[in-house]
């Protein structure tokens, strides 16, 4: 393996998160990062779930008398789009798709990639070789291009967006987990467990996994941001959510036609993405501090 392949951005970012952990000074300050991230994410999830309470409009209700109303118009806090649909309502309902991707796509790839990585690292030999060559192969493609190609073949839809991410995104977890497992395998506690005659599955699940999982969990926060941006990007390109379904990316795409007169159409949904993204980023940094205190 060349060094270049090993320094994939996923790992670079993981190291950044770890380094950020070492940098922080007091425990209180470290906890604060995690808590503020969780609070921000909590606010976002609560707002999206409580969309019917926070907005009196359904996301596709037309207000033909007030198209392209600017933000702070009475009755439309964030304004309306070209059909008079309430932007606040559309952002709240649209977030459901983006957050569903953040959790639904990320959790599946986290679990699958972790299993592949731990198996490859623990068994070594040809199993490791075969699995890691498959992983290398996925890394050879530009991620977005491969996702688009898969969606092109399956047909653009929200479900196929999930499928494309499931097919491709587990590889980062597999690579991180394999590296962790290879190191853990040589540790005393694993040797002790094997000497006691424990089976492979038990050693992997009860001994190696609890001691190495923090790396993939921290990375999954970075990955969740990536998946939200991906969902929005595909919506923007017309390959994810289809109009009139509200979704942050499709809203930005719609709004781009009106940037000459109405800046808020394209701008506001993007701010929602940034808000949720920063929340996940803070949670990732905070988790890095809390989960790996020994490495400070």
């Amino acid at each position: 393996m060349s060094q270049a392949w090993a320094t994939h951005p996923s790992q670079a970012l993981l190291r950044v998160a770890e380094r950020a952990a070492k940098r922080s000074r007091s425990t209180g300050r470290r906890r604060l990062v995690l808590i503020s991230g969780l609070v921000m994410l909590g606010i976002a999830i609560a707002a999206i779930l409580a969309a019917p309470l926070l907005s009196s409009y359904p996301p596709n209700a037309l207000d033909v008398l007030h198209p392209l109303a600017p933000p702070l118009t009475p009755g439309h806090l964030l304004g309306t789009d070209q059909y008079g649909r309430d932007i606040l309502a559309r952002i709240l309902y649209g977030g459901r798709i983006d957050l569903a991707i953040a959790f639904g796509a990320t959790s599946v790839t986290l679990v699958f990639g972790t299993i592949v990585g731990i198996v490859a690292g623990y068994f070594g030999g040809w199993v490791d070789n075969l699995l890691m060559r498959i992983v290398d192969l996925f890394f050879a493609f530009p991620f977005l291009v491969l996702i688009i190609a898969i969606i092109a073949m399956l047909g653009p839809s929200i479900f196929n967006m999930f499928v494309a991410i499931w097919i491709t995104s587990w590889v980062s977890y597999a690579r991180i987990m394999r590296a962790q497992t290879v190191v853990a395998k040589k540790q005393q506690y694993v040797l002790a467990a094997r000497t006691l005659g424990y089976g492979r599955v038990r050693v992997m699940l009860r001994h190696i996994l609890p001691n190495t999982a923090s790396a993939v969990i921290i990375f999954s926060m970075v990955d969740a941001i990536g998946n939200i941006i991906l969902a929005a990007s595909l919506g923007f390109l017309g390959l994810g959510a289809q109009p009139p379904t509200p979704e942050w990316g499709t809203m930005i795409s719609d709004g781009q036609n009106y940037i000459l007169s109405s800046w808020w159409l394209a701008t506001l949904p993007g701010l929602a993405i940034v808000f949720v993204g920063v929340a996940f980023s803070l949670i990732g940094d905070g988790l890095a501090d809390v989960l790996r205190p020994g490495e400070r």
Partner: protein, 316 residues
């Protein structure tokens, strides 16, 4: 061990990857649910046309024969036929190549211009004004979708300040530089995040190296040590990151071309999806992946040329 001790092994590895890439792109077509001819033709489906397409795609043969034929055509530079443009896919791809190549190189240069000073200064003065503000800005920009940032830049610089054009590719070298400034900047901002972080870390690590102390003790001035010893070694560490992240540059290009309506491979890819122009999708995917393999090889070579230690650390 010779200077290029592990190079043959790496070359072998890359050949294997390239072979795998052809296999993956070949099987992409197999993901089409149901009958590909039906998917391509849609409402204009007739039995004769379907048979013609099956024949053109080779779908009427056993799958391993199809792969052999696919590889055979590939070595002759044939990526199949674009039903939408009624042209060979290679011709269509060739027509869209220039804007993408220009944009990727432009963005890489801009990213280097942004990252080198900011990353180096952040590493030298940890916790200083530059370090703090850079970190805040790039933490936020990490959560920004590239296409959204592009639209914000359009609103500010094109719609309100009238500094840059809203879309188009321009003509002549200077025209391209002017028209592609905002698209390239959009990609460069996202790309800089990773570069600045790694350069900052590399600078901090290099400052602690013993050879820096030695140089200072020999009486060399601080400025000269920073320039000749610290900067050179720190930049070296970034070369690897730069090469690997070109994959990200390409992903950025796909999005940004669609924001700024540039006639490049990214727009072609997305349009071909809605046109169900499968051979073009296949071709663009293959081209991008092979490009990344080639660039990774170049990065490896550059690294071992710049730093003879690199080739020797690698052998696992």
């Amino acid at each position: 061990m010779s200077r290029f001790g592990t190079l043959p092994r790496r070359l072998g590895h890359l050949v294997l990857i390239a072979f795998g890439i052809t296999l993956v792109t070949f099987f992409l077509l197999r993901l089409i649910p149901g009958d590909p001819a039906l998917a391509i033709l849609g409402t204009s489906y007739t039995h004769q046309r379907a048979e013609a397409i099956d024949l053109a795609l080779g779908l009427n043969k056993p799958i391993w024969t199809q792969y052999v034929l696919f590889m055979g055509r590939l070595f002759r530079g044939n990526l199949g036929y674009s039903f939408f443009y009624s042209l060979p896919a290679t011709t269509v791809i060739g027509q869209h190549l220039a804007p993408t190549v220009f944009l990727v190189i432009y963005a890489a240069v801009l990213a280097a211009a942004i990252s080198l000073p900011l990353g180096f200064v952040s590493g030298l003065r940890r916790g200083g004004v530059v370090d703090q503000s850079t970190r805040v800005f790039f933490t936020v920009s990490f959560a920004m979708p590239a296409f959204w940032l592009g639209i914000i830049l359009l609103i500010v610089f094109s719609v309100h300040l009238h500094v840059f054009p809203i879309s188009g590719f321009g003509s002549g070298f200077a025209g391209h530089l002017y028209y592609l400034f905002l698209p390239a900047l959009t990609i460069a901002v996202g790309f800089s995040t990773v570069l600045i972080r790694s350069l900052r870390a590399a600078t901090i690590a290099t400052l602690q190296a013993e050879f820096v102390d030695t140089a200072r003790m020999k009486g060399i001035s601080r400025a000269k040590v920073l320039r000749r010893h610290v900067f050179r070694n720190a930049v070296l560490a970034v070369v690897a990151v730069f090469g690997v992240n070109l994959a990200y540059l390409i992903s950025g290009t796909v999005l940004v071309e669609n924001v700024f309506s540039l006639p490049g491979l990214g727009s072609l890819l997305v349009n071909s999806v809605s046109n169900r122009d499968y051979p073009v999708v296949q071709g663009v995917t293959l081209l991008f992946a092979l490009l990344i393999v080639a660039i990774n090889l170049l990065t490896d070579l550059t690294q071992s040329a710049l730093d003879p230690r690199v080739g020797q650390e690698i052998g696992e």
